[in-house]
C-alpha cells in the first residue's frame, strides 16, 4: 500500500518512534483498531480472571446463605455506597477526558484526569478504613479469626476470605489504575506526542478504568447488600 518505503534501512530496530504511528502498521486507523481490539482482548482475560472468583462466591453464598448474611452486617454500607459513587463519578470524568482527547483538547483531558486520579485515591483511602475496622475486630481469616456473633466460624471465615480476596484484587487493580492514570496525566502535561497526537492511549486507559468500575458494580451488592 502507500507506506511501502516507510522503513528506511538505517532504522534497524523496531520501535523508538517520535510519532504515534508504529512502523508495523500501514496507517493510523489500522493501528487504532488494533490497540482497541487488543485492549478488549486483555479485558476479556480480566473478565475471566474475576469470573472464577465470582463462581466461587456464588457457590459458597448459596451454601452458607445465613452465615454470609450475618457476616455481611460487619461491612459498612455507607462507606461502600460512598465508594460506589466515587468510582462511578471517576468513570464519568475519565470518559470526558477521553472525549477531550479525541477533540485534541489538552486542557479538557487534564481537567478530566485529575478528578479521576483523586477519585481513585479516595477509593483506596476509604477502603483502608474499612479494612482497618475488620482487622480491629479480628475478622481477618487465619488462626486469630473471630467470627461475628451469630455466625459459624468456618462459613464466616469463607465470607471474609472471599471479601478480602475479591476486594483486595480489585484494590490492586485500583492501585495499578492510579499508576497508569498518573503516567497518562504526566504525558499530557508534558505534551508528549504519543498521547497528544493520538487519542487511543488515553482511550485504553479509560477502558481499563471503566472495567475497574464494572467489577465494583457487582462487588457492591454482593458484599454490602446481602438479603437475609
Amino acid at each position: 500500500m502507500a507506506a511501502t518505503g516507510a522503513h528506511a534501512d538505517e532504522h534497524l530496530e523496531h520501535g523508538e518512534h517520535e510519532g504515534p504511528l508504529h512502523e508495523q502498521y500501514e496507517d493510523i486507523d489500522q493501528q487504532n483498531e488494533s490497540y482497541i481490539v487488543g485492549m478488549w482482548a486483555f479485558l476479556v482475560t480480566e473478565v475471566m480472571f474475576f469470573g472464577a472468583l465470582f463462581v466461587t462466591y456464588v457457590l459458597y453464598r448459596t451454601r452458607y446463605q445465613h452465615d454470609f448474611w450475618v457476616s455481611h452486617l460487619e461491612t459498612n454500607t455507607l462507606l461502600g455506597g460512598i465508594n460506589t459513587t466515587v468510582l462511578l463519578t471517576s468513570s464519568l470524568t475519565v470518559a470526558l477526558a477521553v472525549r477531550a482527547a479525541m477533540l485534541k483538547n489538552r486542557t479538557g483531558v487534564i481537567l478530566g484526569l485529575i478528578p479521576t486520579l483523586m477519585g481513585a485515591v479516595t477509593f483506596l483511602v476509604i477502603k483502608y478504613f474499612e479494612y482497618a475496622e475488620k482487622f480491629a475486630h479480628n475478622h481477618y481469616p487465619g488462626p486469630t479469626f473471630i467470627p461475628p456473633s451469630g455466625a459459624a466460624k468456618g462459613p464466616s471465615q469463607i465470607f471474609f476470605s472471599m471479601y478480602f480476596g475479591m476486594t483486595g484484587l480489585h484494590g490492586i487493580h485500583v492501585l495499578i489504575g492510579i499508576i497508569v492514570i498518573g503516567a497518562l496525566l504526566y504525558l499530557w502535561y508534558k505534551k508528549r506526542p504519543v498521547v497528544t497526537e493520538d487519542y487511543v492511549p488515553t482511550e485504553m486507559v479509560g477502558l481499563y478504568w471503566h472495567f475497574v468500575d464494572l467489577v465494583w458494580i457487582f462487588l457492591f451488592p454482593l458484599y454490602y447488600l446481602i438479603p437475609k
Binding site: W40, V44, E46, V47, L59, L88, H210
Partner: protein, 142 residues
Amino acid sequence: MSNKSPVGAQHHITPVWIYLANWGALLVFMGLTIACAKVSFPGGSMTNNIVAMTIASIKAILVILIFMGVWYTTKLAKLWSIIGFLWLTFAFGILIDYNTRDAIPGPYDDAGSALRYGKAIDLKPTPGDSAPEVHGEAKKVE
C-alpha cells in the same frame, strides 16, 4: 487492512449530555439497589438476589455501551467486548455440578421413586438387610 473500516468511523464524539445522563442513571440505579436490599420481596432472598443482580447487570451494560463506547465502536471490538461475558457463563456451568448432586437416583422407596439425598444417607445397613448379603455372596464366589 483487508477489513479496514472507513477513516474516522471509530472516532465518534459522544455529546457530553449523554455521559452526564448515563452517570445520573448509574447513581439512580445505585440508590435503587440499596433501597431494594432493605425490602422483603415475595419469594424471599432469592428474589432480592435476582433484583440486585439485574440492576447490577443494567449498570454494567450502561457502562460498557456508553462509557466504554462499545455502542459506537467497530464490529470487531463489539465482538471482543461480548465474548468474555459469554464465556463466563461456561464457567458458571461449574455450579450445575453442585445443584445436581442431590438428585441421586436411588435408593428407592416402596413406590419406586428416588429418595432425596438427605434421606438416603440415613439408611443405615442393618445386619438383616439385603446389601450385606450381596456382599457375602460375592465373597463366596471368590
